[in-house]
Amino acid sequence: MITLGDYLVVSAILFTIGFAGVMLRRNLIVILMSLELMLNAANLSLVAFSRFRVGPNGLPDYNAQVLVFFVITVAAAEVAVGLALLVALYRARQTTDVADIASLKF
């Protein structure tokens, strides 16, 4: 029997992997992918909550699932903007390595 706790553990693992990727990787494309991973980890826990919260009529709580659609939409927009910035940055600097983008450093 798979419980809510199992889903949440998987979600936490995915989120941690994503977070570690954002924090540690140097390539901007990978960082963007890790961000997506974190968003999907959140989606997974939302869907799990929806599935395990059953109302008196025997149906799951759809609110969380609606929220997931919103997240997916926003994530698509975010990826579009993020990749566009990335392309622009690459054209300007010929690099996607965050260590090379340090103009604001004092």
């Binding site: 924090m23 540690l24 450093k105 004092f106």
Partner: protein, 598 residues
């Protein structure tokens, strides 16, 4: 009888000043003609007003802020102001005519006559003002015209400095005067003399308050009438043209302080303390100025110190609550002091603007008319019977004898000193041998200058007799002491004259030198030192506040604070994108913690 001509006394000189300043500055003789016409109109109207004792003038309301503040523009036409107007415009007319001769070659003749007309306007305004606000406005106008006329030869540093000194010194007194006026208005709710007098009981029993108000009002007179300790400006004011010295700094403006005190005597007399202070200030001024005058070498400065001394007598009389005696002396003094200055002016012009008495000598044969008139003025000044000064000074001495013996003693000593220094001047200037080339080859002044001298000499001689003076003034009534006071005064006079003759007859240099008196009791040095140090101290405090509180604290502090915080904050800018993200995450967590958990 309500008629407009009393206003004409004021408006004629004002119109003259306006027309000259706006239109006729380039035509000098026309300007002087306008000015003299105006002053003659004033004099004529003054005589008319004087003759018609029932005359009244229409009054206007200038400021009306009911119920607390109401300033009418009206003329006081009582015996005091009518007499004063005749004296002021009469002496003024003579001096205008004399100026025609004295200033005939002056570049700024139009400017001079415009200022003279403005002065007549302001001075007559003081005489006729029926409320404190009007009085104060004309009071300041007089100060301004005095400034302009002292500094007439402004290209000379001494004249420009003297003008500044006169203006600033009198300003100190005027500050007190204005404060006094405000306190009176605050208490009685009125600025009109006739309304204040019946409301004096509103001051109640606050003796100290009344004394303070009276002394603040007196401050104005101290400044304008050059009483101790604000007397320093008057001798320096002699840098102006001599007719100006005669008109403003001897006969009229400096007497305005005394006139004002007589006008508001009901306030001064409400406080015994104030009366005593006024009397002693007058006495101190009289004796101090007389002492200084004994050692001066400049003919105009000797006359200036004698003016101070005589003003001291008048203020003393006011302080002894005898307005009649004060006004009597003011009346005679106006004539003989204007005469002395104009005669001195005649001497000075003849000697090509030489004012040192030791460069003169033997002038009685060269300038017979000037000598005769100067001698008449001098004898009136020292109080020699039967000249006018004898009667008026005797009246003041009699009052002093009755009320305050110490003051009487000092006043008697001053009379002795007066006789001494006036005769000293007379002997050195007109007797002995000529002591300079210009004194050897002089000639008498033109009639336009000697004619006013003769008129004034007649007035100075006759002005004291009761039959003449009674027409103009309420003479002080002498009770008791009628014999002893004139006797003592004549003894002092003879002593002073005798001493001056024995010391200075035939001498070409100073007989006795007293450095303390030659340096005028070091008043100028003391004030210079005082102003230097108070100003220095004030400047240092101001500089400290500016440099350390405003510059370093407010301006520099905020800039350095911003800079320091910026320096701290930029340490966070490490240039690592993930560090920013990490810090951002920490921030979010902290926000959530504070928003949710707390």
């Amino acid at each position: 009888m309500n008629s407009f001509y009393p206003w004409l006394i004021l408006l004629a000189p004002f119109a003259s000043a306006t027309v000259i300043t706006l239109f006729t500055l380039r035509w000098k003789s026309l300007s002087s003609a306008i000015s003299i016409t105006a002053v003659l109109v004033s004099f004529f109207c003054s005589c008319l007003v004087f003759a018609h004792s029932a005359a009244t003038a229409p009054a206007f309301v200038w400021l009306d802020l009911p119920p607390i503040f109401r300033v009418p523009l009206g003329l006081t036409l009582d015996q005091l102001s009518r007499t004063m107007a005749v004296v002021v415009s009469g002496v003024g007319a003579l001096i205008h005519i004399y100026s025609l001769g004295y200033m005939r070659d002056d570049e700024g003749k139009s400017r001079y006559f415009a200022a003279l007309s403005l002065f007549m306007f302001a001075m007559l305004g003081i005489v006729f003002a029926n409320n404190f606000v009007m009085l104060f406005i004309f009071w300041e106008l007089v100060g301004f015209t005095s400034y302009v006329l002292i500094g007439h030869w402004f290209f000379r540093d001494a004249a420009a400095d003297a003008a500044n000194k006169a203006f600033i010194t009198t300003r100190i007194g005027d500050f007190g005067f204005m404060t006094g006026i405000l306190m009176i208005w605050m208490t009685t709710g009125s600025v009109v003399f006739a309304e204040i007098a019946p409301r004096m009981p509103m001051f109640g029993s606050h003796a100290t308050f009344v004394a303070i108000v009276a002394l603040l009002i007196f401050c104005g007179a101290v400044g304008k009438s050059a009483q101790f300790p604000l007397h320093v400006w008057l001798p320096d004011a002699m840098e102006g043209p001599t007719p100006v010295s005669a008109l403003i700094h001897a006969a009229t403006m400096v007497a305005a302080g005394v006139y004002m005190l007589v006008r508001v005597a009901f306030i001064i007399q409400a406080s015994q303390t104030a009366l005593l202070v006024v009397a002693w200030i007058g006495t101190i001024t009289a004796v101090m100025a007389a002492l200084i005058a004994t050692q001066q070498d400049d003919i105009k400065r000797i006359l200036a110190y004698s003016t101070l001394s005589q003003l001291g007598y008048m203020v003393m009389a006011v302080g002894l609550a005898s307005n009649e005696a004060a006004m009597f002396h003011l009346f005679t003094h106006a004539f003989f002091k204007a005469l002395l200055f104009l005669a001195a002016g005649s001497v000075i012009v003849m000697l090509h603007h030489e004012q040192n008495i030791w460069k003169m000598g033997g002038l009685r044969r060269k300038l017979p008319i000037t000598f005769a008139t100067f001698a008449a003025g001098a004898l009136a000044l020292i109080g020699c019977p039967p000249f006018s000064g004898f009667f008026s000074k005797d009246a003041i001495l009699a009052v002093a004898y009755q009320h305050n013996l110490p003051i009487f003693a000092v006043a008697l000593f001053t009379a002795f000193l007066t006789a001494f220094y006036v005769i000293r001047m007379l002997v050195i200037v007109f007797f002995g041998d000529p002591r300079s080339d210009s004194a050897r080859e002089g000639h008498e002044s033109p009639p336009v200058m000697t004619m006013p001298l003769v008129v004034l000499a007649i007035l100075a001689t006759l002005g004291g007799f009761a039959f003449f003076a009674r027409k103009f003034l309420t003479l002080p009534t002498e009770k008791g002491a009628a014999v002893i006071v004139p006797a003592l005064a004549i003894i002092a006079l003879i002593l002073g004259v005798g001493l001056a003759f024995t010391l200075y007859r035939g001498r070409a240099t100073e007989a006795v030198k007293v450095e303390l008196l030659r340096r005028k009791f070091y008043f100028d040095e003391f004030y210079g030192w005082l102003i230097y140090w108070t100003q220095e101290l004030l400047a240092r405090v101001a500089a400290f506040i500016d440099r350390w509180v405003i510059d370093a604290g407010a301006v520099g502090g905020s800039s350095r604070g911003t800079w320091g915080i910026g320096a701290l904050l930029r340490l966070i800018q490490v240039g690592n994108l993930q560090a920013y993200a990490f810090l951002f995450g920490l921030g979010v967590i902290a926000l959530i913690y504070f928003a949710v958990m707390r």
